[in-house]
Subunit: 396 residues, 2 copies
């Protein structure tokens, strides 16, 4: 009686959440925990965002347009123009975070049970979105030794069967920090074009690039029928709690259907769109400052990792993550060890174990994701403690 | 190539949206349109809501807890206690509007293709939520002549087949304004208990009761395993753009799965939970004042409807809607007529045609939903214009 659905039984628990009791335990013992495990930036949300919300003058917090506030859609179009992308307001649907954009995209292009190709390691919440949409993810492996760049065209094409409806890419990548090249994005577009697939391009870290140049799916010619860009202000303006994202497509039929999905759930949050619109006006100078800070952190993390003998990590070029193969046998055990058995000067670090970023079993067990969302001083200290922790773990 | 999914093709366009061009046309001609067509209250969002947001002190708008902010969960539990319901914070999941709560509930209890019984006419967006969750709605008719009260136990039980997983009820009802009795809620609980079904109880209009007493699904004994309450602050505090709702269940396994769904999409909007928490402190005096206003409006609408000869409408006891059977042949045509062919003293009314609230074809064509979300003076005027419009429509 009262059985839950398979979707309810299958949806994954947050792989990081499992470690929370261990972190709580550490704190109870008076140990300071450096959180390198989550992508919650410490950077302040821009004052312009707060000011716009705090001076909002309407007396009734009414339903907004289902597609998004008209002025915000226009502002987004202007922002994309600054990014070199020509996107009109009527090619955008504002969503409740990037999360909703992804669930909408999965649902719009797949029947229940159909598949989307992803490159693993991948952002762990893609699993949950897939369950919500009743679809399957088909993971293709990428390797730490190659900086987690894409497999060859042959490998990708060999994986395409009748149930595959799209290929998902996150550029720059969470969790690996990999910046995919123009050639890689072009290859995916070619494969999609020839095989009638959609490309789902998660570009929420667009500005977070420390070497080279970001390639949007819309930088590639002739993708209008099948390109779907997923975006969010969460990381860009350090406003994760705002829940403002968007879905962008030049496929008119797809856009119309996305708007209808939007109508069904009425509207995305109004106030945060007002804040986001103000943030969009900050333009390039804001990002230069923020990216300067993240670049310093990236360098600290990379140097810290290289100081751990046996680590494999190609210098990450984007986002604010590094996925490192560490000289450890079991990263889940290692993460627990760091929280429950280890401390240095009453401090320890919390990392995200690799397996949470893989759909395939038994992968990523010697990998950890490091999010560099702490100030440079804390980060230096944290990387030193990580090194000592690895040594202690291996000489248990 | 690049076919969309059946879900994308099937999701309904907002039935009211079809009329928007006609309303725009009327406005262009300088005609004032009284909007009786949407459930967007004109009542001001409480100052306490705005103040809490405008004095929010955090510098980073960070991810909140996936289940909802701890302090808001506690405040909700206190609010339910005031409503006579014992709900602990760990029986609640805060959602992005009531919309997300409904999509979660559908997805948690149904495989794709399985069914939920609804009583039509019903809130039109249930159709969209069903498409999003890849489930089917099984509509059972209720009648204007009987005040849209529930069909008999026999009728409901006869509709249950192996694919039915739950029964959805909205009390007080949108679109009919019907307040379902304790006996009706108890009957549904009995049917659910005997047939292993869930009850999905949409109680977003709980306080909007003008005659009699509201019955929550949790007022009925022995429902803990199968009762799911869906709730939202949108109407209660006139904060539709906030997107803060919740799902309540005492079924622990179901709650755990709902939390995992919550983790997948990270969190509901943070700031609006802060505002909602402040609004919850307003307590009974706030509702007394607001409901006094709505009661006056309800009386104006009911009297206005009774002044139209041939109208069938049992006095609605709750929510802020009346679903009236009018002496017209085709309510879609009537709604268009009112916007494009009719005006009185340069004013007209926009109503929501009945068929949008039915899943069965050819139903509701002589019915309209009237939302009483205007001040009393405007509403009196609007009801007078509606009467004249019906007469003009019938003497075309």
């Amino acid at each position: 009686m009262w059985q839950l659905s398979r979707r309810a039984n299958e949806i994954q628990a947050s792989p990081i959440r499992k470690l929370v009791p261990y972190a709580d335990e550490a704190r109870k013992k008076g140990i300071h925990v450096y959180h390198l495990n989550i992508g919650q930036p410490d950077i302040e949300t821009p004052p312009e965002f707060w000011d716009a919300i705090k001076t909002y003058q309407q007396k009734v917090l009414a339903y907004g347009h289902s597609q998004g506030l008209a002025s915000y859609l226009k502002a987004l179009s202007g922002y994309y123009h600054q990014c070199g992308l020509e996107i009109s307001p009527d090619e955008i649907v504002v969503t409740t975070g990037g999360s909703e954009a992804i669930v909408f995209a999965f649902t719009l292009i797949c029947e229940p049970g159909e598949k989307i190709i992803v490159f693993e390691p991948f952002y762990t919440n893609y699993n949950g979105f897939a369950t919500m949409a009743s679809i399957e993810l088909l993971p293709l492996e990428t390797k730490a030794e190659k900086g987690f760049h894409l497999p060859s065209r042959e490998v990708i094409e060999a994986a395409i069967d009748d149930d595959v409806r799209g290929i998902m890419i996150c550029n720059p990548n969470n969790p690996t920090g990999t910046l995919f090249s123009y050639q890689e994005m072009e290859m995916l577009a070619d494969i999609a074009r020839e095989n009638g697939l959609f490309i789902l391009s998660d570009e929420v870290y667009r500005e977070f690039v420390y070497e080279g140049v970001h390639t949007s799916i819309f930088d590639i010619p002739n993708v209008d029928e099948f390109a779907i860009m997923l975006d969010s202000i969460s990381k860009r303006y350090s406003a994760c709690g705002a829940r403002v994202g968007c879905l962008v497509t030049k496929n008119h039929k797809l856009h119309q259907a996305a708007v209808k999905f939007g109508q069904a759930r009425l509207c995305p949050p109004t106030l945060e769109q007002v804040g986001a619109e103000a943030a969009l006006k900050l333009g390039a100078p804001y990002f230069e400052k923020v990216m300067g800070e993240y670049r310093k952190r990236r360098d600290i993390v990379y140097e810290g990792l290289m100081a751990i003998k046996g680590t494999v990590c190609v210098k990450p070029a984007g986002a604010f993550y590094a996925m490192a193969k560490l000289p450890i046998s079991d990263s889940e055990e290692f993460a627990k060890f760091m929280l429950s058995k280890f401390s240095y000067q009453n401090k320890t670090v919390m990392v995200a174990p690799g397996p949470g970023f893989y759909a395939s079993p038994n992968k990523g067990s010697d990998e950890c994701r490091i999010a560099y969302v702490l100030n440079t001083e804390s980060l230096k200290d944290a990387m030193q403690i990580l090194k000592l922790g690895v040594e202690a773990f291996n000489s248990r």
